[in-house]
Every structure is written in C-alpha cells, then in structure tokens.
Amino acid sequence: MLSTSAALLSARGLRSPFGGPFDFDVQAGECVAIQGPSGAGKSVLLRMLADLDPHEGEASLEGRSNKAMPAPAWRSQVVYQAAEPAWWEATAAEHFEDAQRAFVERTMSALGLAAALLDSEIDRLSTGERQRLALVRSLAAQPRVLLLDEPTAALDPEAVARAEALLRSCLAQGMAILIVTHSAEQAGRLAQRIFHLDRGRLTTI
C-alpha cells in the first residue's frame, strides 16, 4: 500500500492544527469520496492537498513531492474547487483563454449548459449554473487530480447525473478525483473507496 510508484497522488503524514495526520494513496482513474459531519475537516484535507494552507507532512504526484515543484505548478495539476466557487471577472467567458474555448463549449453542453451563459454576468446566473461553470473551469485547467468540495450540491437530479457522467469520463482518461459529498448515493455511484472523516481523523470504509 505504501508503494508510491503506482499511486498518482499520495499523502504522507499530512497534518495541520485542524486535521490529520492523513496517509493514503489514490491511483490514476480512481475516485475517492470523502464523507463526514460538517466541520470534520473535509475542506481542510482538500486545501492541504492543493497546498493552499500551511501544513506538515507531504503530498506527492507520481512520487514527486509538492515541495520539489513551484506551488503554481503543483496547483495547476492538483486543482481544488471550493464549495462556493468564486469568480473574479464579470462574465464566465473572461475566465477562459481563447484556446480553451472549444473544450469549454463541449464541456458545457455535456453539463446541459447553453454556450450563451458564458457571456452573461456571473451575478445573474443561478447557483446551479455557477456551480456547473466552476466545474468547467476546473476541468479546463486539465488537472491530473481534481479535488471537489460538494460540486453538485445545488444541482437538480438530471444535472447531477450529467455531472457524474462527465466525471466518470475524466476518470476513464486517468484523472484521479477526491470528492467531498454529503450524498451517500453519489459516493456509491462514483467512488471506488469512501473515506470517513470525523474530528480531523480518517477511517476508510
């Protein structure tokens, strides 16, 4: 289990005052669901993996420690999507490069979003539309590992199904996904393994 050669993402003694230590491996193409009560440290874990919060221990990608590469290079491969994704420009379109346009429109249609939404003001979009656009934004960064915090919380069942289908196709292409979800059904549908987090401690189910 501790052989790092096969693992895409591995955590060793990852800890902060708010949670841990966390030790686990995630393989390419694998989805791990993280469940637990509010305040158990689920976001803390994802933020440490993305190197957004100070921590002890180590995370590595294919055996390469995150300390061995510049933080932006790490974060563009291990992308974290917050539960309430923020937008820094007026419209969604401004968050993408021109070269990403084809990918963005393809992904939006897979999620049941009209391409016209790209040019609407972010403030006018519904919570569900913003949440799906955030998933498009995260995927457009072409991460190796995707860290999702409640990515479908604001979606209706049909949109949830579309999002899950999209995530499954990413997994099939070798992406690893860690997904925080309150829904046991979703965890069962997507994940090979389920981690249970309580008071900053991890138990595998």
């Binding site: 957004l52 100070p54 510049p70 933080a71 563009s76 923020a86 820094w88 960064a141």
Partner: protein
C-alpha cells in the same frame, strides 16, 4: 519679509469665535461644545509646545536635535498609519511596515528637496528640514494608511476570488495583482485631487501662510509647486511601499494567501 506681528490680544479676539461655536452648540443643543472647547485648548497647548521646541531647535541648529525631532515625527506618523486600518497583522507587522514605509518615503523626498531645490546651509538646517518633513509626512500618512487599509481589508473581502485563482495554478503575484493596483491607486488619489484643486478651489495652507507672512505671491506659488511635487512623489512611494509590504506579509514561500496572519 514683513510679517504683521500677532500679539496675545489679537489671538484672544479670534478666540471669541470658539466661544461663538460653543454658544451655537448650546443654543441648538448640538452637544459638541465640550468637544470644541477641549479641542481648542488642546490645539493651543500643542502648538505652543511645538513653537517653543522648534524655536530652541532652530536656534541651536544641532544635527542631533534636528534628527531627534524628525525621528519623533516619523514615529508618530508611523503609529498613525499602523493603527488606522481596521484589520491588523499579527506580530506587530502593521507597525514594522508603517515605520519602514513612512521613514523611506519621508527621507527620500525630503533629502531630495534639501539637496537639490532648497539647498540650505548646512543641508540639515532645522528651519528647512523639519517643516519639509512635517508636510511630507502628512501626505505619506494619508497615502500609506489608505493603501495599507486597501490591502488588509481587500484580502478579507476578496479572499475567495484570490484563492480561486491560486487553486487553478495562477501565480500569487498575478492573483493578487488587481487588489494591489486598487489599493495603490487609493493611496495616490488624494494627492492627485489636491494638485488639481490647488489654487482654484483651495489656497493651499503653506501658500496662505507664506502670503500672510508677507512673501511675494509668485515666490509663494513656486514653493507651493515644489511642495506639491514632493507630496506627489512621497505619496506614490508610500502607497506602493505599503501595498507591496502588506501583500508580502500576507503570503509565504508556497505562494499561499495567509489570511491567518491577520488578527
């Protein structure tokens, strides 16, 4: 210069206006009469002390005494810059940043003026160095505290946006860029407004003082222009310095946004 000397009776006549204010406050039940009277007394005492201290420092002409007064002024300005923003950095970083910015911006511009435009003999002559430092620090204080507040308040407000960009692999400098530009701009706007209003909407205080002291208007204007340039330069240095140092204090070697370093 043929300044008209003011005697104690002249000041007392003007002090009647303070009593008029107090009377208005009582008559209209504004409740500010105590405040106005206390502020007036404070002002008189403070200025009297400053006048006497400066008289002896000017007379002594000692570099040590001049340096002491200048350092005291810098300390007071730095303290004001550090305490104005609502948010504070841990480990007294507010004070460290303010002291560094106020001292650098103040010294850089005043030394430039003393060695090029004004050139008193000796160069540190207190009659020139101290008033120059005083007026420059006024602008520095304003600019630095606006920029510092802009960053400290901004990172709390914009945290989600900045971290969303970081999480996608954007370098910290790029993710924080809009906030830095915004805060720096806030620091520089007052002096830009001051320059465009000078002479038309307001007669700047220094110029008014010099005119009352009997100086030729064109000469007074030249001084005012020089001072405005100094203030503009000092404001720019102070804004940029405060914004960049505050941002540095809020980041680390892994390019994270360290909001936890705010108290």
């Amino acid at each position: 210069m043929n300044a008209i000397h003011l005697g104690s009776w002249d000041l007392l006549a003007a002090a009647l206006l303070i009593l008029l204010d107090a009377a208005l406050s009582l008559a209209l039940r504004l409740g500010v009469h105590r405040q106005i009277l206390i502020a007036a007394v404070r002002m008189v005492v403070q200025l009297a002390i400053v006048g006497m201290v400066l008289r002896s420092v000017f007379a002594a002409g000692s570099p040590l005494a001049t340096a002491a007064v200048v350092l005291f002024m810098i300390g007071a300005a730095a303290r004001e810059v550090a305490t104005r923003p609502r948010q504070r950095l841990k480990r007294h970083m507010n004070y460290q940043i303010s002291a560094a910015v106020v001292a650098c911006a103040g010294f850089a511009t005043v030394l430039l003026a003393l060695t090029t435009a004004v050139r008193p003999d000796p160069w540190y002559a207190p009659r020139y160095a101290i008033p120059l430092m005083g007026i420059v620090l006024g602008s520095v204080l304003n600019a630095a505290s606006l920029a510092l507040d802009g960053i400290l308040d901004g990172v709390v407000r914009e945290r989600g946006r900045i971290e969303a960009r970081l999480a996608l692999g954007t370098p910290f400098r790029e993710a924080i860029g809009p906030l830095v530009r915004n805060a720096t701009r806030r620091g520089m706007i007052p002096v830009a407004n001051q320059m465009s209003a000078a002479g038309i909407i307001t007669l700047p205080g220094i110029m008014t003082g010099q005119l009352l002291a009997g100086m030729d208007p064109v000469e007074a204007v030249k001084y005012q222009i020089l001072l405005m340039f100094l203030l503009a330069g000092a404001s720019g240095l102070a804004s940029v310095g405060a914004a960049l140092l505050a941002v540095r204090a809020l980041s680390d070697e892994r390019q994270r946004l360290r909001v936890d370093r705010l108290r």
